[in-house]
Symmetry: none
Subunit: 241 residues, 2 copies
C-alpha cells in the first residue's frame, strides 16, 4: 500500500537508524531511505535496536544525496526543530499526516526527511522540501531525538488514516516529481552560469538556494516544468532561431 | 500550572526513567512519580539519559505502591498495549488528552500510569484506573518502549492545549501584488518574443496564457518576483556581461 517514505539525512549512529525503523513499523511505515549514513551501510548496530523491525532495516535504500533520495517523490516534508525562517509553509505532524493521506489518495508520493542527530538538516537539504514539519514543543526545552521525531510523525500518520482531510492539492493532475524539478533547477543554473548571472563564488550558493526554494515552492506540475524548460532554453539562445 | 502526573509502575532501567523524563519535559510535563523502581532511587543511570531534564528526575516522587502514588489523583489512566478485557472505558492518547484538559479545567487531578518495560501492569495495578489508555498501533507489530509510550501521551496532551500554534502560510510577508506579477509576465513575454519563442501568431495567445497561468498559480512573493526578473534579464542577454 502506498505510504510516505521516511528519509534519514546523514544519520550518525546505527543504533538510531534501528530505533527509527522500530518507530516506523509500530505505525505501519516500511519505506526507509538513508542519505549518506555516516558509518556506512549496512551498519551492525542498526539491527539489534530495531527490535523485530529488521525487515525495515534490510529493505532500506541508500543514496548519496538528498536529490536522489527524493527523486521519485512529489511532496517532501523537512522536519526541523528550530524555526528556519524559510519561505515555506509550516505544518504540525497532525496537519502533515492529514495532508499526506490526501496526497496519497490522489496518487502523489510524499516523503518526510529527518536531519542528522546533532545538527539537523542544512538549508540546502531543506531547499527541496515543500513543507516544513515542526513539532510544537515546550518552548523552554526542546530535545526530541531522531527516533522520537520519527515516531511522532509515524504515529500521526497511522492515527489519521480514516480522517476526512481538508487539504487540497494544487494540481489535480499531480505535482512534478522531484526528479523533474531538479532537472529544471540544473538546466536553469547551467544557463545562468553561462550568462554570468552568479556574481561571485561567495554569493553563488545563496543565490542558487534562493532560486531552488522559489522553484520548489511554486508547486509546478510536470507539464509546467516542461513549459519552463522550453522557456529557459529559448531565453538562453544567443539569437532567435 | 495543573497538569497530569506521569506514574511509572515498577520501572526496571534507570536509563528508561531518564528517557521518560526527557519525553515528558519536551511537552511540558514535570510531575513524575515512580512506584517501586526495581533498582532503587535515586538511580545514577537516570540523569544522563534525561538529557537536560534533570529537574524532572530530581523532583520525582517515589512510592511503594500504586495506591499511594495515585492517592491525590481523581482520574487515572492505565496505559496498556494489549486489550485487557477489563470492564473500563478505553481511550486513545488523543481522546485521553482532550479528557484530561477538560478534567483539569474542572479542578480534577488526572494521572497516567505506565507499566514495567517487559511485562506491563498487572490487573491489580489496573484495578485503580478509571480508563484504559491504548495506543492504536500496527496490529502485526506492536513494540512501543516505555519512553515512546510516555512521549505519545505527553505529545497529545501538549498538542491539544488551546494555545498550540497551527499552520502558517508560506509567505508571511504576503504575496506579490498583481501589478508586480504582470510586470514579470510582460518582461518575460518581451524577452521570449525577441528569442523567437512564440512559434506563430496563431499559437501565441495559448502559449502566453499557459505561461501566465503558471506564473499566477505559483503564488510568488514580491521578493521572488524581483529575483525572477533578474533571472529573465540575465538569460535574455546575448552574451555574458
Amino acid at each position: 500500500m502506498a505510504q510516505p517514505a521516511i528519509i534519514l539525512v546523514r544519520p550518525q549512529l546505527g543504533e538510531n537508524i534501528g530505533k527509527a525503523a522500530r518507530a516506523m513499523l509500530n505505525f505501519g511505515l516500511t519505506d526507509l531511505r538513508l542519505v549518506a549514513p555516516r558509518d556506512g551501510w549496512p551498519n551492525p548496530d542498526a539491527g539489534p535496536s530495531a527490535a523485530g523491525a529488521g525487515a525495515v532495516i534490510n529493505n532500506a535504500r541508500v543514496y548519496d544525496t538528498v536529490e536522489e533520495a527524493v527523486a521519485d517523490c512529489t511532496h517532501v516534508y523537512a522536519t526541523t526543530v528550530r524555526d528556519r525562517d524559510m519561505p515555506k509553509p509550516v505544518a504540525t505532524p497532525k496537519e502533515s499526516a492529514l495532508q499526506m493521506h490526501t496526497l496519497i489518495s490522489s496518487g502523489e508520493r510524499p516523503a518526510v526527511m529527518f536531519g542528522p542527530e546533532r545538527s539537523g538538516m542544512t538549508n540546502d537539504d531543506i531547499a527541496l522540501a515543500d513543507t516544513i514539519l515542526t513539532v510544537p514543543i515546550n518552548p523552554e526545552y526542546g530535545s526530541l531525538n531522531l527516533a522520537q521525531a520519527v515516531i511522532l510523525v509515524a504515529y500521526e500518520y497511522f492515527q489519521n488514516a480514516s480522517d476526512t482531510p481538508a487539504y487540497q492539492p494544487a494540481h489535480p493532475e499531480g505535482l512534478a516529481s522531484k526528479d523533474d524539478l531538479v532537472g529544471l533547477m540544473e538546466h536553469l543554473e547551467g544557463a545562468l552560469d553561462q550568462k554570468g548571472f552568479f556574481k561571485s563564488e561567495g554569493r553563488r550558493a545563496a543565490q542558487r538556494r534562493t532560486l531552488r526554494n522559489l522553484l520548489q515552492n511554486a508547486e509546478f506540475s510536470s507539464q509546467e516544468i516542461q513549459t519552463l524548460r522550453g522557456v529557459v532554453k529559448a531565453l538562453a539562445r544567443s539569437r532567435p532561431e
